[in-house]
Symmetry: C2
Subunit: 262 residues, 2 copies
């Protein structure tokens, strides 16, 4: 099976032009097939404030109202996505920027209203993903740059978490490719001691994870990430790497830095 | 040769949700291969005003400064483009939204400064267009929806006139396809009497054009459009149709409405 990297970057990379350019240079240099998924960063909040769009929270959860879905469609799907695409093209990487609506790559349904109405938030309908279109683009050496947006199939754009977009793409393509899913975040990896940046656990298997849970070595915020990683692996992804953007891409084919989960 | 329609819509369609939806329904129903090029409409100006971005004019020409290129990248490349894509997907049209940076389909150079510095405006470098990428997308039945944006190959997005984007795409693909270039605008076609909406000239050949010029029958504003049409035809486009969006698509394969230039 041919290798495919699905790499997700968030605000800590996107919001800093130097970090972003440094990352994109490493990303463009990966010779294997690759997909980049980006979050939004702080720029959407900043532009939203300038436009007088209030951030709405209910029970601590952000609500995507009509003004907000237009805002993130502009900022994530337009400004952030196209800046990345133009930069990658300048590095001879044949980038093509997409949302989940483009080529119908990531259809979703508006999250059903239970206790909270999240508004225009999309839950991905994995069985409807246009895997054939993804494969056509990959096979023709396009490097997809994917914004954290989906659509409902009835003409409505929806806001979807970038981590979820990345794992859905990784899972959807795992039948055809040997997929490594890479989450770049603000830490060097999963830490045995959250106070100690260099206490990176280099490999987590299911057995190791159980032991770490028993030993209460992991900080709370990391548990969902590891759970998501194992969920992706259960669905066909070969391995998940978590760590710092710049570390990870310097040795993207090995795993000397960050935490490898398999 | 297989037929290809390259259709350009402007503000008068984009700014009115009913007109846009009506147009997109007709567009989606075209069974031949097709590309949609859209302008920006008034929404960019409105959002620009809310963001405190001044429209800058020098000698009556709009200048694209740094804030403005970010604005149009957001609004044209994000908001307008993705709304159209999501709507077309809901109509079973496999739309994929692109700027000139995506897949490097329309490279450009920043317009050289002579009397006026236009700022981040791109003049298309036709000989560098990634025609192969355009053909891959067309041959795989993706319907490209193209925003009026290009890039300079060094990481900078550029603002480019939608009419020019449409004619450049039409010309670039005229070696492989029988291309009809369609400009939708606010009138029913080229009018013999500008005061009379129904005085549409149904066919303009070069000979007819010379005669119309001699007879001074044409209003000034239409001359550049006709000149551009003949320039496209000289470069390989088979025919150019000019007229009202809704009229044109109702009979897109014939020419019973609007003005056909060939």
């Amino acid at each position: 099976m041919e290798q495919l990297f699905v790499i997700k970057i968030g605000g800590n990379v996107i919001d800093d032009t130097n970090s972003l350019n440094f990352f994109l240079k490493d990303f463009a240099a990966i010779s294997a097939k690759k997909i980049l998924v980006h979050g939004g960063g702080k720029i959407a909040t900043k532009i939203g404030e300038q436009l007088g769009i209030q951030s709405n929270y209910v029970q601590g959860r952000r609500i995507t109202d009509e003004a907000t879905i237009d805002l993130v469609t502009m900022v994530y799907g337009g400004l952030v996505n196209k800046k990345i695409v133009a930069k990658l093209q300048s590095l001879q990487c044949n980038a093509i920027g997409l949302t989940g609506a483009d080529a119908n790559i990531i259809p979703a349904i508006k999250r059903p209203v239970k206790d909270i109405d999240y508004g225009f938030v999309g839950d991905i309908t994995k069985e409807k993903m246009a895997v054939m279109n993804l494969e056509i683009l990959l096979n023709n050496n396009f490097t997809m740059v994917v914004a954290p947006l989906t659509h409902d199939g009835n003409g409505q754009m929806l806001n979807t978490n970038a981590d979820t977009i990345a794992s859905s793409l990784a899972v959807a393509l795992s039948e055809s490719y040997y997929v490594r899913l890479i989450y770049c975040f603000e830490k060097k990896g999963v830490l045995e001691n959250v106070e100690e940046d260099h206490s990176v656990i280099s490999l987590i298997t299911r057995e190791k994870y159980q032991q770490l849970l028993i030993d209460k070595k992991l900080f709370d915020g990391i548990l969902p990430k590891i759970d998501n990683a194992f969920a992706a692996i259960s669905s066909g992804v070969k391995e998940v790497l978590i760590g710092d953007a710049n570390d990870l891409l310097q040795n993207v084919t090995s795993n000397t830095k960050g935490t490898l989960i398999k």
